[in-house]
């Protein structure tokens, strides 16, 4: 259920203003792209601030020792030792921990049905269910020291009770970031709480370098016009012009049909408007289904869209768990897919990581 809606949620929520009550100076902030995560690090201590995008004055603060330094001070810390047992409620969290080779620290997830990582599947972690109906008993049973949740409705259920039991809860708003690298930067959060910040920084730098390299190699002379989104009920939902996906399209040099539509969330458009604009569209991305039959079953009028008849429809739905798990921390791989798709007739389908042709 969660994954069905997560795509919509990505689009639907729009971002608020920048935080104004932060204790971490920009000069000390380790995070370069993220809007909702701030981290400062000294020899002794690490400060983490997680800003609530719905209410930027509400900041979740975390103080922990710098696990790199051997001695450490006698301060009061929110987390005193590197987290060994973690409950994570989103696929993106699993992907980030996988990048850091710390899957073995995951002791609980929402639902194994949505897990792509084979190592995690074989570990058989405790299944907690939906974020808002998560069983506290199961969290306790899993012996998790830290629960990382999405913050869809801000407060985690039974948060106070868990905190009394010395189980920390931590919101993760990576899904509210509009910059692809900003979303990936949340890997640092996992690095710091597990004491593996150096690996996390190294990994993130690698992702950034790769992203910029792909971006710089993209052929800017060819114009490929793309349509994105699909019909949900009576409306066509598509990423707005300043959203996460629109940014990726732009960085890949793709000419996005709704790039001029303002907003960081989603657009709701009538089908006739979409049809009226898409006569010269070259590619249709993210139709929400992995086959033309399924697209036409849910919305038969999609047959009127030119890309559907030209076999120019691509989606990540063929392996949706893989996409949700890995895409947040690997925007370079999505960008590489888009760069390959941009080659149109010359594209090599075998090079695509997430996307596949919808047939």
């Amino acid at each position: 259920m969660r994954l069905i809606y997560i795509g919509l949620v990505f689009f639907i929520f729009s971002c608020g203003n920048s935080p104004d009550i932060t204790q971490i100076d920009d000069s000390k902030n380790v995070c370069k792209y993220s809007k909702w995560l701030r981290i400062s690090e000294s020899k002794e201590t690490v400060f983490i601030e997680i800003i609530n995008p719905d209410n930027p004055t509400e900041i979740y603060r975390l103080k922990l020792p710098n696990f790199k330094s051997k001695g450490g001070s006698k301060d009061n810390y929110d987390i005193e030792k590197p987290v060994e047992r973690m409950a994570v409620l989103s696929s993106t969290h699993i992907g980030m921990l996988a990048e850091l080779n710390m899957i073995d620290r995951i002791v609980a997830v929402s639902d194994l049905k949505y897990v792509f990582n084979t190592q995690l599947k074989s570990q058989q972690p405790v299944q907690l269910g939906e974020e808002q109906t998560t069983s506290s008993e199961r969290i306790i049973k899993s012996k998790a020291e830290l629960v990382v949740y999405n913050g869809f409705s801000n407060e985690f259920p039974k948060q106070e009770l868990l905190n009394k039991l010395r189980i920390k809860t931590l919101p993760n708003y990576d899904w509210r970031e509009t910059h692809p690298l900003g979303r990936a930067e949340w890997i640092l959060l996992f690095g710091y709480v597990t004491g593996h910040q150096d690996e996390a920084k190294r990994k993130f730098e690698e992702i950034c370098t790769n992203y910029e390299r792909i971006k710089s190699q993209i052929d800017t002379m060819t114009n490929v016009k793309i349509l994105s989104g699909n019909m949900t009920g009576d409306y066509w939902y598509a990423p707005a012009g300043q959203s996460y996906h629109a940014r990726l399209f732009n960085d890949a040099g793709l000419s996005y049909l709704f790039s001029n539509q303002t907003g960081t969330g989603s657009l709701a458009l009538s089908f006739e408007k979409v049809l009226g604009m898409s006569s010269d569209v070259d590619l249709w991305l993210n139709p929400g289904f992995d086959s033309k039959r399924k697209i036409l079953n849910t919305h038969p009028k999609s047959k009127l869209l030119p890309p559907l008849n030209q076999s120019s429809v691509f989606c990540y739905s063929h392996n949706i768990n893989k996409y949700w798990e890995l895409s947040a921390c690997r925007p370079d791989l999505i960008l590489a897919d888009f760069a390959e798709l941009k080659k149109m007739d010359q594209m090599d389908l075998n090079k695509l990581v997430f996307y596949k042709m919808v047939e």
């Binding site: 259920m1 994954l3 069905i4 949505y114 019909m231 949900t232 009920g233 009576d234 409306y235 709701a268 458009l269 009538s270 089908f271 006739e272 408007k273 049809l275 009226g276 006569s279 929400g288 289904f289 992995d290 039959r293 399924k294 079953n297 849910t298 919305h299 038969p300 009028k301 047959k303 009127l304 739905s317 949706i320």
Partner: protein, 332 residues
């Protein structure tokens, strides 16, 4: 008993309203079109012209589906109200829709290919509506109170929705998405190619309804009268349930569940015509139902730039207070 002639002016006025609204609906939209485009789209169609495509492929099926759905659900509601002698009866309230929803959910969420086909979807919805119709008919024989029947319908709806929730939890993401989209209810899903088939089933079922008008008029007086007039009451009941199931299942299959039309419009028609002549009520429901849902569709289109109102939300917004009104005024 008042005849059609007494209300011919009203019926003609509503018919004219439907025609005008249809023309408006065909011309108005996010893309500017004119009468010339409309003429070509209807008479001399070219799929090379985007304006004509928009009118013929997007607006026309939606408008026709609004007319057919409104009429079908209203006639189904009228039949149920006569069968159960209860102004609160209707395909949505009594749970006939729930039968269709359950079968469609079982079909779509089971992942069996056949159920994902058009035929599978229609078959599931019709079967669900018919089985639930018979079940409600059977249960109604034990319920003397009008409110009890309504509560039974509500309970049936809750029961079905619980089963659907369990099915949803265990289903695959794509199957769940397909079902969620279907359950939202929409007039936009139907294509122009599907319209002839839907129209044929609709018109055929309308003729079947006209065929049972006479016994329906007698049924209002009581079941004994029906027997005295030589009709088989059991067969008549099953025929009414069958007709209702076809109307409801057809619309539910193609548009998803559409709430309250089948309850509000038949009551409104009865209030206006103050008659038990089912031929007049049939035409009244046919036209008022079509006019009502078409108006709702036009309203949702008009406000789409500023506010997204799903058709189901609008019909519920109007229909639910109407049920409360009936509860207060008629069942006090």
């Amino acid at each position: 008993m008042k005849g059609i002639k007494s209300y011919s002016a009203v019926l003609f006025f509503v018919l004219a309203g439907i025609v005008l609204l249809s023309i408006y609906g065909l011309l108005y939209g996010d893309i500017d079109t004119n009468f010339q485009d409309l003429y070509h789209a209807l008479i001399d169609y070219s799929n090379e012209d985007m304006d004509q495509v928009i009118i013929r492929e997007i607006r026309l099926p939606r408008i026709l589906m609004a007319i057919i759905s409104g009429a079908a659900l209203s006639i189904a509601g009228m039949l149920m109200q006569t069968l159960f002698q209860n102004p609160l009866a209707g395909p949505y309230v009594l749970g006939i829709n729930s039968g269709s929803s359950l079968m469609v959910a079982l079909g779509l969420l089971s992942g069996i290919g056949f159920f994902n086909s058009e035929l599978g979807l229609i078959g599931s919805a019709l079967l669900g509506a018919f089985v639930f119709g018979l079940f409600i008919l059977f249960t109604a024989s034990f319920l003397r109170n009008q409110i009890s029947l309504l509560l039974f319908g509500v309970m049936l709806g809750s029961f079905v929705s619980s089963i659907i929730t369990i099915l949803e939890v265990g289903s695959q993401a794509e199957a769940l998405k397909a079902f969620t989209l279907w359950s939202m209810g929409s007039l936009n899903g139907v294509t122009i190619e599907q319209i002839p088939m839907i129209s044929m089933v609709f018109i055929g079922t309308c003729f079947l309804t006209i065929f049972i008008v006479k016994p329906l008029n007698i049924l209002v007086l009581g079941e004994d009268e029906v027997r005295l007039m030589g009709y088989n009451i059991k067969k008549l009941r099953i025929l009414i349930v069958f007709v209702t199931a076809v109307f409801t299942g057809l619309i539910t299959a193609f548009c998803g569940p559409i709430a309250f039309v089948g309850l509000a419009v038949p009551n409104l028609t009865r209030m206006l015509f103050r008659t038990q002549n089912h031929l007049l009520l049939f035409f009244g429901n046919l036209l008022f139902g079509a006019f009502f849902l078409l108006s709702c569709d036009i309203v949702t289109q008009l406000f789409s730039e500023v506010l997204i109102i799903p058709i189901n939300a609008l019909t519920s917004l109007i229909g639910a207070p109407f049920v409360i009104y009936i509860l207060i005024s008629k069942l006090r």
